[in-house]
Amino acid sequence: MTESQGDARKQVVNASLTLGAAVGVTALSFGLAAVSAGASVWQACTLSFFTFTGASQFSAMSVVGAGGSPAAAFGGAALLAVRNFVYGLVLAGRVAHDDEGRRFSLGRRLVAAHFVIDETTAMTTAQSSPRLARTAFWVTALSLFITWNLGTLVGALAGSVLDTRALGFDAAFPAAFLAMLPAHLRTSRGRAAAVTGAVVCLALTPFVPVGVAILVAVVGILFGVRP
C-alpha cells in the first residue's frame, strides 16, 4: 500500500469513527424515548440490536407511546425500513465481492446485510475505490453497531429512573423526526411529499385508529410518479 492510499484509508477510518460517536448520542435519545413510550430496558436494547435502523425504531416506539396497535406501529416502521432494501441494491455492487469480482461467502454477505442502513450507505458510496468502499462499510458498520447499542442501553437505563413526562422526554420524538427530515427536503418532490404527509396525518387523526394516519400519509410518495 502506498503512503497516499494509507492516508486515504486513515481518513475513512477517522470519519467512520466520528460518525459512530454521533450516532451513539442519537441512540441515547432513542433509549430515553423508548422507555418513556412504555418499553422496558430489555425491549429497547433488543430492538436496537436486531432491528438496527433508527428511523423505524423511533417510529414504532412513537406509535406505541401514543397507544396505537402493534399492527399500526409495525406498518409505519416497516415502510420506513423499505429504504434499506434500496440501499442493499446499491451496496451489493460495492461491498459484496472482492477486487477480482469474486463474491464473498453467503455467510459473510448475510452478516453484512444487517449493517445496510443510511450511514453505511452514505459512507460507502462516497469512496473512490472498491477497497476504500469496503473499509468504509465495515468500519462504519462496526463503530455504529457498538455505539448504537451502548447508547440505547445507557439512554434506556437513564429513562427508567427519571420522571420522563415532567422532563419532556415525549418531546424527543418530534424533535428527532424533525432533525432527520432536512436531508429529504432538498428536492421540490421531497418538500411536496413532506407537506402532504403532514397534512394527511393531521386531517385523518380524529377519524382513524391511532397510528393509521401515519400509514395513509405515505400517499405523499405519489409525487414520484411524474417523471
Binding site: A175, L178, A194, A198, A217
Partner: protein, 106 residues
C-alpha cells in the same frame, strides 16, 4: 398505554424480522440490479412523507385528538435548532427542555 408487554415483544420480533428481511432481500437476493425509475422515485419519497407525518403526530395529537400543548413549544425550539444546523442531540435536548419548562410553569 394500551399495548401489553407481550404485544410489544411481538412487535419487536416482527419489526426485527421485517427489517432484516428487507436488508437481505436487497443486498443478498436481488443485489446490483436496478428498479423501474418510477418505483425508485416513489420509494425515495417515503422518508419525507412519513417523517413529516410523525413530526405532526407527535406534536399535535394525543390519541385521536388534535391538540396544541407544551410540545408545540418544544417543536418550535427544535425548528430553530434545526434551522441553525445544531447537532442532533442539541435539537432533541432543546425540545425536551422547552417542553419541560412549559409544563413546569403551566
Amino acid at each position: 398505554m394500551s399495548m401489553s408487554h407481550t404485544e410489544l415483544w411481538w412487535l419487536i420480533i416482527g419489526l426485527s424480522a421485517a427489517s432484516y428481511g428487507l436488508k437481505i432481500a436487497g443486498f443478498v437476493f436481488v443485489g446490483g440490479r436496478t428498479m423501474p425509475p418510477v418505483l425508485e422515485r416513489c420509494l425515495a419519497l417515503i422518508p419525507a412523507s412519513l417523517l413529516a407525518a410523525l413530526v405532526v403526530k407527535d406534536t399535535f395529537t394525543t390519541a385521536q385528538d388534535v391538540v396544541v400543548d407544551a410540545r408545540a413549544v418544544g417543536l418550535l425550539v427544535a425548528l430553530i435548532a434545526v434551522w441553525r444546523k445544531a447537532p442532533f442531540i442539541v435539537v432533541v435536548l432543546a425540545a425536551m427542555a422547552a417542553t419541560a419548562i412549559v409544563r413546569a410553569i403551566s
